[in-house]
Symmetry: C2
Subunit: 133 residues, 2 copies
């Protein structure tokens, strides 16, 4: 099954050591830029939270267990949210600060500057702001 980047994520983190282990742990924001051919997909965006799917291209895909930094307990990769997993799709639910025609500004994400964006899904559509009949 083939997927492809629909945009890119701009963060202040240029090395893995800079990246926070989970979203929201560092102050600041991330800018999610949707590539031009896909920008019409942002039409009428209105939500306070969004699920962001992105690609951890540096994560090993052949590991099925890992120990979390939080408690040192070994768990399977489907029992934790580690980047190490057979399909290294990252998922973060973050607050939307600003939505415009080219992308979203959201709370700080846990990924490198230039990470590939796979999808955006609003958590709950705000139905009061557009298309009132």
């Amino acid at each position: 099954m083939e997927i492809y980047p629909i945009g890119t994520i701009h963060t202040g983190f240029s090395t893995l050591d800079d990246c926070p282990p989970t979203p929201g742990l560092k102050d600041g924001t991330a800018r999610i830029e949707v590539f031009a051919p896909f920008r019409d997909g942002l039409y009428n965006f209105s939500a306070e939270e969004v699920d962001v799917l992105y690609w951890f291209d540096k994560a090993p895909r052949d590991r099925l267990r890992s120990a979390t930094p939080h408690d040192g307990v070994e768990r399977g990769v489907f029992a934790m949210r580690s980047p190490h997993r057979p399909n290294p799709i990252a998922l973060s639910r973050v607050r939307v600060i600003k939505a415009d025609d080219t992308g979203l500004t959201v709370d700080a994400l846990d990924c490198l500057d230039g990470t590939s964006l796979i999808d955006l899904k609003p958590v709950r559509i705000n139905r009061n702001t557009v298309g009132k009949k």
Copy 2:
């Protein structure tokens, strides 16, 4: 970017007309079967909710706008959770009813019987049930 199925989802729905438009709208449960080579990834699973990623193989990928059945308003595909999107990855956050060595039983999902599973991510790990030191 290549992804592959790590399991399959068993639901009672054999046609798209049977499927509810969102998870949790129908009574019943879904069984998430993880394929044998990936089952070690379930080791020490303990969570009350899980984010399930799966593949809407029948969804058109070239559509950037759609109207929701809920209010008839046209929105971009990144402004809604429609299956129609460039990367047709479905994401549902559902309650875990049972976790065992071969998979999970969860609240009803909005997909066809036999849908390909991509990933499982616990929403919050229950740290009190395993590995207490």
